[in-house]
């Protein structure tokens, strides 16, 4: 191998598009091995896309990607090399399972890579001790601070000793202390494993100084590569940030030079915001503890602290979104209170993540805000034009907000917040994840608003250079304000590093951190585990185990599933009934003879018919039936009695409300019966025939002699519930992984499609089976319907049936993109064949056309049939097996289709 081959990864002419947006526009790059490599550049220039492609998480569209001496387009190579790559996606704890504890998260990744119990224990102990996570092994990942989440993410990535570690903005949103610790940790790991290459993207230029080699990116292209020193020399700049900016095309560099903040004039009128001893608790967790501050009018007040330190909660209390557990807050001298509409008109709010309506265009978002703040129609167009120009959004006015790059989204968000010219702005991390150039432009806008329009600005951030631009700042940590002063005063105490060092000192004091970490030590003494037989099964079980743990952490969902199906079982069993009782009926007797009374007597005094006042006229009959008052009327014509005694032909009319056809048929049956009984009694009395009828028809109701609905309903209902509940739980479980981002772990680990799908499926099959047991117990013990046939056969049937229903959930989840769509699609598609075409109310044989086909291609009807058979007909295994086979046939089809449709990479 020559020098040419000495690259950990190599890309050539790589192009990538998302719809109309170009993310990568012909990138060619050789990454030298064994180094700390940095990828720097603004947001939305394609850094994450490039990292995703290198990690194998994204599908290559055009161009070549070679990682660890093989093409990533080659599935076999990719599968093999995934064992040696680790990838940590952007976003705090994005690939972690938030409900699971630190220990369980690490354990899952260990299992996925086939480590056995002692091996996992050893690795987890070492990694957590080295990162200082060991005291928190049992804390759920979701309750860790931002810095700790990132450390855990790193541990999860390192558990399988990768040769190539890819970290996408690992320190964004992390406090300065944790950030420093994170990089020290990486350095230690590299010292331990000199052969490992680390590729990091970052928005912090001061971090990039530590890297061995950098690639600067803009607009989907590489601007320059080399050591930080190379870049500085090349551009002739002192620091990397200016070096980077000067690499940009001229039109993207700062137009107005460095940001200058004019001094603040003191404004009359009391403080704009007053917080006194604000405290907010969520359960036993105190998010904000005894926070007090005052903010002057026109002041820019900075709120610093890492994610989860209580900044957002404090802001929400000020806007009235949250009520304070203790303490009080005043805006312009009025209590911050949800019901105070007048104060709300004076405040503009920008929440984290720039929550706009992505489906609306830029202009539509602005118009909506203007309208909701009740601006005059004539002013609106003018104001929007003004803002579009001022915020540089004119060219994007008709673009959908969701398609905007992050920096522009942020500007639009601010434009929406100021459209009604508020006196105060509350901005929650408005620059998080935004690149330096866009951040400077954003601050220009803020300074203008503050100094020119005397807008009070309350802003939270975790960038130190932004903190320096505020009039005053306060540092929050773990729910408390540690310090609160002008940035200049605070920076004086920090020595050469200034503010950053000051804060690290404060945080260290507050958290009592004395760096008790142990050196990483001999993490790599063992050889990497070999791929062995059964590795697939191990991974499958690892996925199952993790899913089961997650389900157990959401007891509400579990309770809903069990209690819900039991409640529905009750409703179905008692609510669906073919037993007709209390039919409202009225006589329309135009004859009024003993004969007519005798005829009507047949209908009286039975449980079936509930007699209503007599009908007096044909009109009345029509009216009362129209109003739904009576369902049946017996009309006896005048002269009935005379005709009957003379033996002349005469007819009686039975009027039935035919609106509900099934009920009408039942009524008709009863009426025929009553008529026949009158006839035969009369014939016998008159001696017209012998006392014996021509024929006795002897109905024998088999399996259900009392002929009630319950015995057939109780075994039928589980078939319906076991279709709907498991399939929805299944579908939501997968689409949730996609929405949250944990599906990345499936993309970048050697987990196979079937291993993932079946692994996810198993816990829900278990839940479904437990559910079946509880429903069966209800049928037997509560409804008193004995299970006469083979319980084992029925249980086996239930098992394959739940496999089929969860399999259907898998298909839906693979098809749909969001949880909403998954719920919607599962409900709508499954509901009809399950409830209507399963034979519950209408036997499958009586269905017609497409409905009949749907019934045949849906498993419910087969399971319902076997359940009824096992319960009521005492069927044995020998008689039930064809149904079991039929139901079992659905699973490979469903799971197979899902596996075919499931992508192992992102688009």
């Amino acid at each position: 191998m020559g020098a040419e081959a000495a690259a950990v990864a190599r890309v050539a002419d790589l192009r990538h598009r998302y719809g109309d947006t170009t993310a990568l526009d012909g990138v060619s790059l050789d990454l030298p091995p064994g180094l700390m490599l940095g990828l720097i550049g603004p947001d939305g220039v394609g850094k994450s896309t490039l990292l995703g492609l290198l990690a194998g998480a994204r599908e290559i569209q055009r161009g070549r990607v070679t990682v660890l001496d093989g093409s990533m387009a080659d599935n076999a190579h990719r599968e093999a090399v995934l064992q040696r790559i680790a990838y940590m996606p952007q976003g705090l704890g994005k690939n972690l399972y938030q409900e699971l504890s630190v220990q369980e998260n690490l354990d899952f990744f260990g299992r996925l890579f086939g480590h056995d119990g002692p091996e996992r224990r050893r690795r987890i102990d070492r990694l957590t001790r080295a990162t200082g996570l060991d005291p928190f092994l049992n804390r759920p990942a979701g309750k860790l601070s931002g810095g700790m989440k990132q450390k855990l993410g790193l541990c999860c990535s390192l558990i399988h000793d990768p040769d190539f570690l890819i970290l996408d903005e690992p320190t964004t949103g992390v406090d300065p202390l944790s950030r420093g610790q994170f990089w020290d940790l990486i350095d230690e790991i590299r010292a331990e494993r000199p052969g490992m290459s680390v590729l990091v993207s970052t928005a912090y230029m001061e971090e990039a100084e530590r890297f061995d080699w950098l690639a600067a990116m803009d607009a989907g292209r590489i601007l320059a590569t080399g050591t930080p020193q190379d870049l500085r020399t090349e551009t002739g700049k002192e620091d990397l940030e200016s070096a980077f900016v000067s690499l940009l095309p001229a039109d993207k560099q700062h137009a107005d030079g460095p940001l200058v903040i004019p001094p603040r004039e003191t404004r009359p009128g009391g403080p704009a915001i007053v917080a006194r001893n604000l405290t907010r608790r969520f359960g036993d967790f105190t998010a904000v503890n005894n926070v007090s501050f005052e903010i002057e009018r026109g002041e820019i007040f900075g709120f610093l602290g890492s994610n989860g330190s209580g900044k957002t909660t404090t802001m929400k209390m000020l806007t009235g979104l949250l009520s304070a557990s203790e303490g009080e807050a005043f805006l312009f001298g009025k209590p911050a209170d949800a019901s105070n509409i007048e104060t709300r008109k004076r405040v503009g709010f920008m929440s984290q993540n720039f929550s706009l309506w992505g489906e609306l265009m830029v202009r539509q978002n602005l118009t909506l805000h203007a309208r909701l703040f009740h601006m005059e129609g004539t002013v609106i167009a003018e104001r929007i034009a003004e803002l579009l120009a001022e915020f540089g959004l004119d060219t994007q006015a008709d673009a959908f907000a969701k398609d905007l790059p992050l920096g522009l989204k942020q500007r639009l968000s601010l434009a929406c917040a100021v459209i009604h010219s508020p006196d105060m702005l509350i901005l929650d991390e408005p620059t998080s994840g935004v690149d330096p150039v866009a951040r400077d432009e954003f601050w220009n806008l803020l300074v203008r608003l503050s100094r020119r329009d005397a807008v009070t600005i309350f802003i939270s951030t975790h960038f130190m250079n932004e903190a320096l631009r505020c009039d005053r700042i306060s540092l929050m940590h773990a729910g408390e304000v540690l310090v609160y002063d002008t940035p200049q005063n605070l920076a004086e105490g920090g020595g050469s590093e200034g503010l950053n060092e000051t804060f690290i000192r404060y945080i260290r004091q507050a958290s009592g951190d004395t760096e008790p970490r142990q050196a990483l030590a001999t993490l790599t003494e063992d050889a990497r585990p070999h791929r062995r037989m059964g590795a697939g099964l191990t991974r499958l079980l690892a996925v199952s185990r993790r899913e089961m743990l997650e389900v157990m952490r959401d007891p509400i969902r579990l309770a809903f599933a069990f209690l819900g199906s039991m409640i529905l079982m009750l409703m179905f069993a008692y609510g669906i009934s073919t037993d007709v009782e209390d039919l409202s009926y009225a006589a329309f007797d135009q004859d009024r003879t003993p004969e007519s009374r005798a005829y009507l007597a047949n209908f009286e005094g039975s449980k079936i018919f509930a007699e209503q006042p007599e009908v007096q006229s044909a009109d009345q009959l029509r009216e009362r039936m129209q109003a739904g008052e009576i369902s049946l009327a017996i009309e006896i014509p005048a002269g009935f009695g005379r005709a009957l005694t003379r033996g002349q032909p005469v007819s009686v009319a039975a009027w039935i409300d035919g609106a509900n056809t099934t009920r009408a048929s039942t009524i008709e049956g009863y009426v025929q019966g009553a008529h026949a009984s009158f006839m035969s009694n009369r014939m016998i009395r008159e001696g017209q025939v012998a006392a014996t009828p021509l024929v006795n028809i002897e109905p024998r109701y088999r399996y259900n002699p009392s002929f009630e609905s319950l015995p057939s309903m109780a075994p039928s209902v589980p078939a319906i519930l076991l279709m709907l509940f498991p399939s929805i739980l299944m579908a939501v479980s997968i689409s949730r992984e996609r929405e949250i981002g944990t599906i990345t772990n499936f993309y970048v680990t050697p987990t196979g499609k079937l291993e993932f799908l079946l692994g996810k499926q198993l816990p829900y099959v278990g839940i479904g089976l437990a559910n079946w047991l509880s429903l069966t117990a209800m049928a037997v013990f509560l409804f008193g319907v004995p299970l006469q046939g083979s319980a084992a056969a029925l249980a086996l049937g239930a098992l394959v049936y739940v496999f089929a229903s969860t399999g259907f959930g898998l298909i839906i989840a693979v098809f749909t993109k969001s949880q909403v769509a998954a719920v919607f699609a599962t409900t709508i598609i499954a509901m009809m064949p399950t409830v209507q075409f399963s034979g519950l109310t209408q036997p499958v044989e009586t269905l017609e056309g497409f409905a009949r086909i749907m019934a045949a291609l849906w498993p419910t009807n087969y399971f319902m049939q076997m359940s009824v058979g096992a319960f009521n007909k005492a069927l044995t295994f020998g008689e039930l097996w064809p149904n079991i086979l039929l139901i079992a046939a659905f699973t490979p089809v469903f799971v197979g289709v899902a596996a075919l449709l499931l992508k192992k990479q992102e688009a």
Partner: protein
């Protein structure tokens, strides 16, 4: 008028957002179009193509006449089986009725010895068994009567019963299932759509955004109710005229306008349920399960599947709380019986009051749920 305008602008936003969600729109179109058609047209008669098996030990002209008396659409042409096969056929669900004609049956009838025809019924198929037994008995005894009349054994009975079904003379099942199908789609889609719209806005954080503006929770909720109802309403009108009246060819006894008016009220009630569920559920998974728990009773206990009076006494007052029960009541009355407003107004009123109740409860819970504490 402030609030009116707010609702108007928020509605515009809702509709635009929904318009961009292709999957949801497609599912709405499916439900009110093909889905609706399949569900309704698929419902044959309550007894339709019913399988009957004869064990004919007589092999007489009368026993053959009994077999030929059964024909489609109610019954499939009967098949024959030996006495030893009967148990198995019933067990495996191959047949529903087994008629056993004993040896010497015809001779016994002629001699007036009143022989017995045994009919074995698979009573686990409750619906077919209950209605089918009546039909089968009357056809079989009629056939024997006819045979006897031809043989001059008895004279024709002078008293005749004429059964007239009002509103649906042919007893066409499709009519009923069309209305209950409409109701099912209305309930399911309105609730899911409205609830999901709320949850999605909460997940994206835009709901907080709205709440810091000078807008009340009432306006946000009403805008969602109106916008989502409007979409379903359009789909409903399409389904009513194109699917129900067009493709399924169901005659309309009453006023379409009145049914549409009632539907508007029902949409309000169903969307309010959607809002309430969206507020109660913390996650999408919980929402999905809640929906199941609510939609199923709405569909099953509306009276479309089982008439209210056939439900257990303890359950009947509970179904009063289901708007679908009132909808079923007035929809049937208007569509088939041609009822006018004077008859159906109480159902309209109840539907509206229930909607207002659900909305009221939602508003009380609204802010608490959004702030997550």
């Amino acid at each position: 008028m402030r609030w009116g305008l707010n609702i108007f602008w928020l509605m515009g936003k809702e509709l635009r957002v929904l318009w961009r969600d292709l999957v949801l729109l497609l599912l709405v179109v499916y439900s009110f179009g093909p889905g609706m058609y399949i569900e309704s047209s698929g419902a044959g008669e309550a007894i339709n193509n019913t399988a009957v098996t004869f064990v004919d030990e007589d092999r007489s002209s009368l026993s053959r006449a009994l077999q030929t008396a059964l024909y489609p659409p109610y019954f499939l042409p009967p098949n024959e089986a030996g006495p030893d096969e009967v148990e198995r056929m019933l067990d495996w669900g191959e047949t529903t009725f087994v008629v056993v004609v004993p040896a010497g049956f015809e001779a016994d009838v002629r001699a007036g010895r009143s022989p017995t025809l045994q009919v074995n019924i698979d009573a686990t198929k409750t619906m077919q068994a209950s209605i089918g037994t009546g039909y089968l008995t009357s056809i079989l005894s009629g056939e024997v009567q006819r045979f006897a009349a031809r043989a001059d054994l008895v004279e024709k009975p002078p008293l005749d019963l004429v059964v007239r079904r009002a509103y649906n003379p042919a007893g066409n099942n499709v009519w009923l299932s069309a209305i209950s199908g409409l109701l099912n789609q209305l309930s399911m889609l309105t609730i899911v759509l409205t609830g999901a719209a709320l949850i999605r806005e909460r997940e994206h954080g835009t709901i907080e955004h709205l709440l810091v503006m000078p807008i009340s929770a009432f306006e946000i909720a009403l805008a969602k109710i109106f916008a989502n109802s409007l979409v379903i309403f359009i789909a409903f009108v399409f389904a009513l005229f194109v699917i129900v009246q067009g493709a399924l060819d169901i005659p309309f006894a009453g006023s379409e306008a009145l049914l549409i008016a009632g539907t508007v009220i029902y949409l309000f009630a169903a969307a309010s349920i959607g809002i309430l569920l969206g507020i109660l559920a913390r996650t999408m998974a919980q929402f999905a399960l809640l929906i199941m728990l609510v939609i199923m009773p709405i569909m099953i206990l509306s009276g479309g599947m089982t008439p209210i009076e056939s439900q257990p006494i303890w359950l009947q007052p509970l179904t009063f709380l289901l708007p679908s029960r009132h909808y079923m009541e007035f929809a049937q009355a208007i569509t088939y019986r041609g009822a006018d407003l004077a008859i159906v107004w109480p159902s309209f009123l109840w539907t509206f009051l229930l909607g207002a109740l659900f909305l009221g409860v939602s508003l009380i819970l609204f802010r608490r749920s959004v702030s997550g504490g």
